[in-house]
């Protein structure tokens, strides 16, 4: 046999006996498994547990259904429920109140968190301890935090005790029932939220401060800038990403305010501390107005979606800008 023929024969044999072909496709098949099965599992769960209920809710929102009648007998009633929600004073009041609470709480949290982060960033000793302590409120179960504050706001609670020396000279009974006054009750809730979530803004700002490049600040010092100038012209602009993140995240969460309301005031006195979440809960669980609740849920979802997308847009624009800055 000639050389060429022998070589050709060997190559042919090699190709025929190549069972590796199966192995390669096994790996590829595995890759297909790894790619799609988790995706389908997770998406499937979302669809089953979130999407389907929502479709059901949309259907219910078009029904005229009271809780005392069985579901099967409910009749379609068009947009009536939506009208009811949109004209309901309680709904709008609760919504407005929610924005008010969220706004006040978030502003306080931003300011206090910022100051705390600035201070902690500059101290040398005990820094770890401060950080650990300041993070604790975030980890307290919100319900428990609500309960704690209800204890503190008691007419025979420590808050009144601390304030007693300041109010007694005016002839006021120091045993003030804070939660019986609408304005005080509102601020009680706002302050409870501030107590708990300042930790988060603190954390975000601390990261922001830690990320400040010392070179830039040194360069400014060499060029003779004063502390105040450095703060406003160099540090604050560099902290903008942190501020945006803190604002967006905290605002979104603050609008969901529910736990402290239930634990502290039950929405009272009257309806003065009802947030939108509480209001909705009451409508469905106390008054059993299911269709109303369904329509309100959908409306709320739309409102919140707009807010969420605004938030995401702000966040992505911010992260894109800081990416560009970092590359330079």
């Amino acid at each position: 046999m000639t050389e060429a023929a022998a070589t050709a024969r060997r190559e042919d044999e090699a190709r025929r006996s190549a069972r590796p072909r199966r192995r390669l496709s096994a790996w590829l098949a595995q890759e297909r498994v790894f790619r799609w099965i988790p995706f389908i599992l997770v998406e499937g769960t979302f669809v089953l547990v979130i999407i389907v209920p929502f479709i059901l809710t949309i259907y219910i929102s078009f029904l005229r259904w009271r809780a005392n009648r069985p579901f099967e007998q409910a009749t379609l009633s068009g947009f009536r429920n939506y009208e009811q929600v949109l004209t309901d004073a309680g709904f709008w009041a609760a919504l407005g109140r929610t924005f008010y609470f969220a706004g006040a709480a978030v502003i306080l949290e931003l300011v206090i968190g910022f100051v705390l982060a600035m201070l902690v960033h500059r101290v040398v000793r005990f820094r770890r301890i401060y950080i650990t302590v300041f993070l604790i409120p975030m980890m307290v179960v919100p319900v428990v935090a609500g309960y704690n504050f209800s204890m503190i706001y008691l007419d025979s609670g420590p808050l009144n005790q601390l304030l007693a020396p300041f109010v007694e000279p005016f002839g006021i009974n120091p045993r003030i029932r804070w939660l019986s006054d609408p304005i005080a009750a509102q601020w009680a809730i706002i302050l409870a939220d501030v107590w708990q979530w300042t930790s988060l803004t603190f954390l975000i700002f601390l990261s922001g401060f830690s990320a400040l490049p010392p070179q830039l600040i040194n360069a400014a010092r060499v060029m003779g800038a004063s502390r105040r100038q450095i703060f406003f012209w160099v540090e604050l602009p560099l902290l903008k990403p942190a501020i945006v993140i803190a604002v967006v995240i905290r605002s979104m969460e603050a609008l969901k305010l529910f736990d402290p309301v239930v634990l502290l005031t039950f929405g009272g006195p009257g309806t003065s501390t009802q947030t939108i979440a509480y209001y909705l809960w009451e409508q469905v669980w106390q008054f059993n107005k299911f269709s109303f609740g369904a329509a309100a849920s959908i409306l709320l979802l739309i409102i919140f979606s707009v807010l969420i997308f605004t938030g995401i847009w702000a966040l992505t624009r911010q992260s894109a800008a800081s990416e560009r800055a970092r590359i330079q």
Partner: protein, 315 residues
Amino acid sequence: MTDDAITPSSPPPTRRRRSRAPVVRHALLIGWAAIVMFPIFWMLQTSFKDSGEWVSWPPHWLPHNPTLKNYAQIFTFDVTGVAREATEQPFNIWGSLVDSLVICTVASLIALAMGTFLAYAISRFNVGGGKFRHMVLLIRMIPPIVVAIPLLMYYAILIPYATDSLFGARISLFDTRTGVSLLYLTITLPFVIWMMLSFIDEVPYTLEHAARVMGAGRLYTLRKVVLPLVASGMVVTFLFVFILNWAEFLLALTLTHPNVSTLPVLLNKFQSASEGRLYGPQAAIGTVITIPVVVLGVLIQKHLVKGFSFGMVRR
């Protein structure tokens, strides 16, 4: 004069402030630390107070007659099960403890498994396209109340209706541990994916390449190379998600009554008691609910700090 050009117009501020500033800073920080710790301290000490001291005026900052009675009360075994009735004062913490533990553990574990799996797929194969990573967190942003009502209808109405027509048996997910676990699992999945994604991204893909060139199959590589490197990340993620589930209130409140009640729901039942509030046992329950979580949180705090830096920290 040439000297004017050299000397600064105002004296350098640092030299003067150096003696005063740290004291002021520490004072402020200690002040806030006191504000932070006070409610927790108050709850702790109330839990050791006898009933006579609960609403005394002026309030006692430390119990004059410390007692363990409150803890004994909540930890008694109530064989008759009467404690679960909505109208009665529930003394017994065991039922809720079990409910909370089971729900949180099961939901967190399953979420961890599914989420890690998907995070791996996203990291290595870019499943779902570029935007998917960020879209995943979207779900989390929806306020729970918006989900609560649909889910109530779903669990209490649609599912029994569906299973009735399909299997002839009305199975309701309302007021069941399964129902709550399923929901918790779904809403914490985004977090698991987000966190595990960052951990898996840190494992260089070349490690898997190297293993593959040396003849290792994919499962072997995952087992021996990838998983050991993300193990600590998995622990942190599990704890984070567990804490989230443990603290969850609104959804548990709306979807369970009266058979299942998680610990936060139990605490609330005390709150709405009409006659004489039992502050002592309530404080004890609050302590049981929260102290383990705080301890866990302190343990994983390093990762929390890292996680919330949102890429601001320069690598």
